[in-house]
């Protein structure tokens, strides 16, 4: 059935689904799509206030004088792609029983929708980041590597999405389990602090944490610092493996979706 819908048609369909997903969030809201900009700005203000003023957090390696909130923001964008995607993945298929049971539909593209929507939001975030960098006088050419730096993270999120979406169909608890884990990851990943300020004994955990590697790489790219290509590359390999396994698992479970929904 999937082969009948051509590859191009599938991409078009995916594009439509993502568009619907993004638009749906703002449909009927007074400020409409302006929320795409307002939300990240509010979030940025909160983090800047709490960590910059209340906790007086210091960023040891901010050598070239980028303000704290800018450093934070450049990493947070990457983390948000991951957290947005993963929190919504368990319901990506579960919330569309009609697409599974009532229409002929390539179900494996459903888990791509939260990721796609998260990437759309990230794009606006990056625009804000660029504006902020320019405003703070920190704009440099290396920032064009930013999207490339995100690649391993996207692949990991993709693999996990397929996996979680499949399990979310069978196990209703998944949508409850995932958010606290995402919250935990926020504090365990070097988003609010650099990996360098972690005690020496925990350092390996951060070195091999693909999420951490990507976040650090993104930050380096945005702020014009040297990028750790080795950890990035290993994260990429992990991402490829994760997405491959995720898709395989999804396709394996797909046959029973209709029974479980």
């Amino acid at each position: 059935m999937t082969e009948r819908v051509g590859r191009f048609a599938q991409y078009y369909l995916l594009g439509q689904l993502i568009k619907r997903d993004v638009l749906l969030r703002y449909r009927g809201a007074m400020f409409g799509v302006a929320w795409v900009f307002i939300n990240p700005l509010i979030m940025l203000c909160i983090y800047a206030y709490v960590f910059g003023h209340v906790f007086q957090a210091r960023w040891p390696q901010q050598g070239n004088g980028a303000p704290f909130w800018l450093v934070l923001y450049s990493g947070l964008i990457a983390f948000n792609i991951f957290s947005d995607t993963i929190s919504r993945a368990p319901t990506a298929v579960k919330n569309y029983p009609n697409f599974v049971k009532k229409i002929i539909f390539p179900v494996e593209i459903l888990p791509l929708v939260p990721l796609g929507a998260a990437l759309v939001h990230a794009m606006f975030n990056v625009l804000i980041l660029l504006a902020a960098l320019a405003w703070a006088g920190q704009l440099n050419l290396q920032v064009i590597l930013y999207p490339l730096m995100l690649l391993p993270l996207v692949l990991i999120a993709l693999g996990l999405s397929w996996f979680l979406a499949a399990w979310g169909v069978f196990i209703k608890d998944m949508s409850q389990i995932v958010p606290p884990f995402v919250q935990m990851l926020l504090f365990l990943s070097p988003v609010l602090y650099p990996a360098a300020s972690v005690p020496e004994s925990f350092r390996p955990l951060y070195r091999y944490n693909p999420l951490g590697a990507v976040i650090e790489a993104c930050r380096s790219a945005a702020l014009g610092q040297p990028i750790n290509w080795t950890s990035w590359a290993s994260a990429l390999v992990l991402g490829l493996v994760a997405s491959g396994l995720g898709l395989a698992f999804f396709k394996h479970s797909r046959e029973e979706f209709a029974d479980a929904l």
Partner: protein, 411 residues
């Protein structure tokens, strides 16, 4: 090997579901890798084989839970068979539920475009179709309103319009046409017939409504408990199915007291409803067309009934009312003092066409307040005259005494 003009071919299809009594059991099953069984098996379809040729219209009939919808889902590729194969040729448009891909927050137009994307149409393709779809759905300015503001009728019209214009090779419809007003149903059937005519299209149609199947379909497949009971020409298969249903419906009512399924004020109690051939002594459940039929109702009233309206009528299994006898239109409606009574209504010439019919019965007081009302009561079958080789009567419910005249010229 199936020949070239076969567009859907199913061979030994089986579909078994795994039923888990607790969601956790599924996880246990997953981790034990099949060493231990945490589930029960439920077989939805057993050994189904059939071929459908291009240009066929096929109805799938059967009771609830007989596997009709599962079979459609297998044909569409939404479900995978546990064993066996199903091969289809051409693009399938499935209408297992009208507007299944619609999102209530979006406008009709947006949803139609999205439905198109589901079918593999691009934006440009849909630009060319939208006017036809809008004209067929005929919902005016609502096309640009969110679907949640639609009446259920408008929703159905738009969904059907979007589907029928997709120009698929195989059209699969599950009960979808039982909704919408009569005018629109008529329009849908006309459109369906246009669509089928001349093209090498296939229509697969599931319905509880045997009459609809008889009317639209050339072939029928009768499923029961996941097996094919009979398949072949629609007329014969539907007739066999109706006979079976009649036996079951009748068996259900045989020994039980008629129940007031619609209204019951406690003033009247119906004891039994019996049908007799004109001068027969034994009650019957089969009667030949054009014979005389007597319907006898025994009831008990707990107070004096002054000029009640007693209604006795017929309806089809799908609740189409055909005719009703009423005491209220008599010159002098009778009164019934407290106690047991028997009323009889006789039909000298039963013009109902062969098929299965049911009785409805109502007791209303003088002010038309229902005291006892029920439908789907006794069932009976009208049979073709013995020895008649009429396999199929012309479509309809009643054999009207038509008179033809033929002459030359227009004078």
């Amino acid at each position: 090997m199936p020949s070239d003009d076969v567009a859907i071919s199913a061979r030994n299809l089986n579909k078994t579901y795994r039923l888990f009594s607790h969601p956790g059991d599924r996880i246990k099953q997953f981790f034990t890798l099949g060493i231990k069984q945490y589930h029960r098996q439920f077989t939805a379809l057993k050994d189904i084989s059939f071929d459908i040729k291009k240009g066929d219209t096929v109805g799938i009939i059967g009771r609830n839970g007989s596997g009709k919808s599962t079979l459609l889902q297998l044909i569409c590729g939404i479900l995978k068979p546990t064993s066996g194969t199903v091969r289809t040729e051409g693009r399938i448009s499935a209408l297992l539920e009208l507007g299944a891909g619609f999102n209530l927050e979006f406008t009709g137009r947006e949803n139609v475009y999205f439905q198109g994307a589901l079918m593999g149409f691009t934006q440009a393709d849909m630009d060319g179709l939208i006017d036809d779809i809008a004209a067929f759905a005929d919902i005016g300015e609502f096309l640009d309103q969110p679907v949640r503001t639609y009446s259920s009728g408008m929703f159905v019209r738009l969904a059907f319009a979007a589907m029928i214009h997709a120009d698929a090779d195989i059209l699969v419809i599950d009960e979808a046409l039982s909704v919408g007003d009569e005018a629109f149903q008529r329009k849908c059937f006309d459109k369906l017939q246009d669509y089928l005519e001349g093209h090498e299209k296939i229509l697969l149609f599931v319905s509880h409504n045997v009459r609809q199947v008889e009317r639209i379909c050339s072939h029928a497949i009768w499923l029961e408990n996941g097996r094919i009971v009979q398949q072949g020409a629609a007329g014969e298969t539907c007739a066999a199915y109706q006979t079976k249903i009649h036996q079951q419906v009748h068996g259900m009512h045989e020994s039980t007291k008629p129940l007031p399924t619609i209204a019951d004020s406690g003033e009247v109690e119906v004891i039994r409803i019996q049908l007799f051939a004109d001068n027969g002594e034994e009650s019957v459940d089969e009667i030949e067309i054009h014979a005389a039929l007597r319907i006898v109702v025994d009831f008990r009233c707990h107070s004096n009934l002054i000029e009640p309206d007693i209604l006795i009528g017929f309806h089809t299994i799908d609740s189409v009312f055909i005719a009703t006898a009423s005491t209220a239109i008599l010159p002098k409606p009778p009164d019934f003092p407290q106690g047991e009574h028997r009323v009889q209504v006789r039909i000298a010439d039963l013009t109902l066409l062969p098929g299965v019919y049911q009785i409805r019965l109502g007791f209303l007081d003088r002010h038309l307040r229902p005291m006892w009302a029920g439908h789907k009561l006794s069932a009976f079958r009208v049979t073709a005259p013995a020895g008649s080789n009429l396999v199929r009567f012309p479509p309809g419910l009643i054999d009207m005494p038509f008179e033809w005249t033929f002459s030359s010229g227009t004078q």
